[in-house]
């Protein structure tokens, strides 16, 4: 009996997957995953902007002590 039920469930699932509803579900899942990727750019972009703003100018200096101090200060604020 359980076997039959499982088979019916399988057939129903495959039918839904092949139907326009299944196609829609796939597109929603893909959209959700794309939105997630886009959301994640906020944090990474903020990190890059922070590194550029806080480290780029000191790192372009030839004064090693200044470079070390800037990196140390930056690291302590992480």
């Amino acid at each position: 009996m359980a076997d039959v039920r499982a088979r019916i469930r399988g057939v129903a699932r495959r039918a839904v997957e092949r139907s326009p509803l299944g196609e829609l579900a796939r597109r929603v899942a893909a959209l959700e995953s794309e939105i997630e990727e886009l959301r994640q750019q906020n944090l990474r972009l903020a990190e890059i902007a922070d590194v550029v703003q806080e480290l780029l100018v000191p790192l372009s200096s030839r004064d090693q002590a200044k470079v070390d101090a800037a990196i140390e200060k930056f690291s302590k604020g992480l």
């Binding site: 944090l43 590194v51 790192l59 070390d68 690291s75 604020g77 992480l78």
Partner: protein, 507 residues
């Protein structure tokens, strides 16, 4: 059918009830644990069965006057002298210092406020005021949040079953990117002021405050922002909200002190706890909507994956020296190129290889997610005058990987980077950061030696299988040349395959 306790044993309680109720469990008259009967138990025949909370199990050996009480009505369901295990003494649910513990809202065994006297609570309130002032100085209008706000508004006191204090603020910015950058600046300001900060996410962190008696207390600071008519507050809130319900801030009273609060605290509490916030619930669980979780995860989270697991793994071993014999990878490095002049050990853990390399005469920088893991080794290196520096590196934060990569790139000359069981212990994002970090560290030459679990043998906590071909592809993608690649059985563990990849970057 009224709720009743049918039986009690070493594994848990059997109860009967058709209705949902919140129950408190008392040991010798003191609340230790609370739970929702139907939500937290399982059906057993026509009754309900609940196991003792995991954090309580280690205390269950001896006798106690066990009480089970309906939280809201105070009706006593059970009140019997009860024995657990084979012990004869009274059960004392206390910490190493003998201070009473209870299970807080997060399921952790903690010093909850109901066992603390006024003199114990005063330093916490001092800390709250201190951090609020420091945040205000940095231009942030913060207020008590979550349980701390709930206690202030509902009872004007800290909630008995709570164990920590939370602060929150709503940024004036309306875009996640700006809110994150503001949080970074805020952290720097607080760090400059001498506070130690632990970041949880893009907009939440913990501020450690040293109290009068020298003990350190962590206050959580949760950032939030308003966007398109909704409030998003780390870590649970995402709901339609109006700016005027927050600003200008009003006040609340907590343990006799006046503190800032959102303009309409009732609305904030409803956003945090739902419309039932006025009814005490020591077993409250957040039921944050999937949408809000997805938004907060996507915007702000992902920088401390597995961190708590690593902290837990090292927590009891920090002060014990690890095995000081070199690993197979350390021996392999020396067989290939002698003792390198400069070694960077990434994911150094407790520092066994790092200190061994230093003892051989190398100048060693050891990086880890949890730098305190190698505390014993650091002490040994200091006592012996070894050239060993331990630094924090979080591969899940670009800021960390770039800053440390830049530091190394600015110190010219070749070096050797070793990463043993790191590539297989982090995420794909973390691995990509590792390869990028290595390419920066090896700007002036030298090689990366990495080892990882490929397959076979027992599963080990925190390690995941990694294919050598994936490592190769990722490294080549980051501009590396593969110098050597092999797999072999872990010593003494036939069938447990370990991968070893050596790479270098063209200078």
């Amino acid at each position: 059918m009224p709720v009743s306790v049918l039986s009690v044993d070493d594994a848990g309680l059997t109860l009967s009830s058709a209705d949902e109720v919140i129950l408190d469990v008392l040991f010798d008259g003191r609340r230790i644990w609370s739970f929702w009967l139907l939500r937290d138990s399982r059906p057993k025949g026509s009754n309900r069965r609940i196991a003792w909370a995991a954090s309580l199990e280690k205390f269950l050996d001896g006798q106690t006057r066990l009480g089970v009480v309906e939280h809201l009505s105070g009706r006593v369901l059970y009140d019997e002298e009860t024995r657990f295990g084979s012990g004869n003494g009274r059960i004392a649910v206390v910490n190493d210092e003998g201070k009473p513990l209870g299970i807080d809202k997060s399921g952790r065994m903690a010093q909850t406020f109901d066992t603390r006297s006024e003199e114990h609570v005063a330093p916490l309130l001092d800390s709250i005021e201190e951090v609020l002032a420091a945040l205000a100085e940095a231009g942030i209008e913060a207020f008590p949040a979550y349980g701390t706000l709930l206690g202030a508004v509902r009872e004007q006191h800290l909630i008995g079953h709570d164990s920590d204090a939370d602060l929150g603020y709503v940024s004036r910015h309306g875009h996640p990117y700006d809110v994150i950058r503001e949080s970074f600046r805020l952290q720097r300001r607080l760090a400059e002021g001498g506070y130690r900060i632990t970041r949880y996410s893009g907009i939440a962190f913990k501020v450690d405050v040293v109290e009068g008696d020298g003990s350190v207390r962590g206050l959580d600071v949760f950032g939030g922002f308003l966007s398109h008519g909704s409030l998003y507050l780390m870590g649970e809130v995402g709901t339609p909200f109006r700016r005027e319900w927050i600003f200008p801030l009003g006040t609340c009273t907590l343990e006799g002190r006046t503190l800032p609060a959102p303009a309409e605290p009732d609305r904030m509490l409803e956003a945090m706890y739902g419309p039932g916030w006025k009814v005490p619930d020591p077993a409250f669980h957040f039921e944050t909507s999937r949408q809000t979780v997805r938004r907060l995860n996507g915007w702000f989270r992902g920088t401390r994956v597995f961190r708590d697991d690593w902290e837990r793994r090292y927590s009891s071993r920090r002060d014990r020296l690890p095995d000081l014999a070199p690993s197979g990878l350390a021996e392999y490095v020396v067989a290939q190129e002698g003792v390198p002049g400069r070694i960077v050990d990434v994911g150094a853990g407790r520092g066994g290889d790092a200190v061994w390399f230093a003892q051989q005469g190398a100048s060693v920088t050891a990086y880890d997610y949890v730098p305190t893991a190698s505390r014993a080794v650091q002490r040994r290196a200091e006592a012996r005058g070894l050239d060993l520096a331990v630094r924090r590196l979080n591969l899940l934060e670009w800021r960390s990987a770039f800053a440390e990569g830049a530091r190394l790139a600015h110190q010219p000359g070749p070096r050797t980077v070793v990463a043993r069981h790191l590539a297989d212990a982090t995420t794909r994002f973390g691995r990509n950061s590792l390869w990028r970090f290595a390419s920066m560290a090896l700007r002036d030459g030298g090689r990366l030696y990495t080892e990882y679990w490929v397959e076979g043998g027992e599963e080990r906590a925190l390690l995941r299988r990694l294919r050598p071909s994936a490592v190769r592809t990722e490294l080549i993608g980051h501009g590396a040349d593969i110098v050597h690649e092999e797999t072999f059985d872990a010593p003494g563990e036939p069938g447990r395959r370990i991968g070893r990849t050596v790479a270098q970057w063209r200078t």
